[in-house]
Symmetry: C2
Subunit: 220 residues, 2 copies
């Protein structure tokens, strides 16, 4: 019981800080997306592609969270990211709003269109922590099971978009696109879906258009 | 600070219960393995194969943990598992020793050779919770990144065996076997490795032999 009370206190403090982040993003007209998934679903690959395709069109900031190493941040810099901040959680299984506030201090937000937050690879814990994002984008890859939305409902319920990655590997497992969508809809009727392959680029245009549309909506 | 204190209290209570489980397993000569991985690395598939191959030779109990649904337990029953107990954590990101003690009450342990505990798909939190197992077995699949041991060191440090699954998909991504082994060894010099494909069965014999050897060692 006492533990529950402390957990609530931690979460409400997090909500207060997340509201601060959200206010700043709104004031500056920056679209902030929180990317969540299992380890290895392709969050960093998706951001690499996005930097390559939209890097000249949109100004993107990137916060890359990892339990250990700055590997993801290094990959994003190599892919052309000029505004990249790593967060090494040192064991923690999720990012929280305080970490974002600290990271934002070291990131120039002037003229930014988009801020991507790449969360720790974990389908459970990050779902409980609001980071001040406008939306959560959940990635799932075709090499995982298509029942993931049912097994990790919290994350799929709190996300606005599901990106199904690695469609180039469809047919190499029992994973079925129709089934993952059906399972996702059962959890969250409003969840949009985009299917793509970060490896081949197939389907990526819909993701870019989705981003463009959200950014222009934010500016309006 | 207060939170840290409560976390320590929770963990030490967990250690006490885990020691109870461990004692019972030792007394009964049961090899208890805690299977951990990202969601979708193939824990359930590995157990399905193992039931099919060794079901007549070894008596296996299976505890299948999931955040939501009993899908994994259902799959294990369909694969011939006669002693299967699901644990639905209802949101929690890991199994703990208390859950195992409750599940064991409903499982007949008489004559059991092996008890598999399939943890929640999560490379972070389950690493902190001792379940009374003899060893942790960590799965990683070739469709994830080969830098996972570096990014989630806690789990790879606390595991005794790394099973690299989906070797039938090698070459479909940048994943390199040599690199994942090198990264794993950098974290844990004692970590054994077995490479296999749960889909095709390639390499599975080494896993079966590994299990047989450990079981007979336990009996001796």
């Amino acid at each position: 019981m006492t533990i529950l009370k402390y957990e609530k206190k931690v979460l409400s403090e997090n909500d207060r800080l997340a509201a601060e982040v959200r206010r700043e993003m709104t004031d500056r007209g920056i679209l902030c997306l929180n990317l969540v998934s299992s380890p290895g679903s392709g969050k960093t690959s998706l951001l690499e592609r996005t930097l390559g395709a939209l890097g000249k069109e949109l100004r993107m900031g990137l916060i890359a969270g990892d339990v250990q190493t700055e590997n993801d941040a290094d990959r994003l810099r190599a892919a052309g990211g000029t505004m990249v901040r790593p967060i090494v959680t040192g064991g923690a299984c999720h990012l929280d709003a305080r970490m974002i506030i600290e990271a934002l201090k070291k990131l120039s937000l002037d003229g930014l269109d988009l801020l991507f937050i790449e969360n720790v690879g974990n389908l459970v814990c990050p779902s409980s922590y609001d980071l001040g994002e406008e939306m959560k984008v959940v990635l799932i890859s075709t090499t995982e099971g298509d029942d993931k939305p049912l097994k990790y409902p919290g994350m799929f319920r709190r996300s606005s978009l599901m990106v199904v990655n690695k469609i180039d590997l469809l047919g190499h497992s029992e994973f079925q696109l129709a089934r993952v969508k059906e399972n996702a809809r059962a959890i969250n009727g409003d969840l949009e879906t985009i299917e793509l392959s970060c490896r081949t680029g197939e389907g990526a245009r819909r993701w870019y258009d989705w981003l463009r549309q959200r950014v222009s909506h934010k500016r309006a």
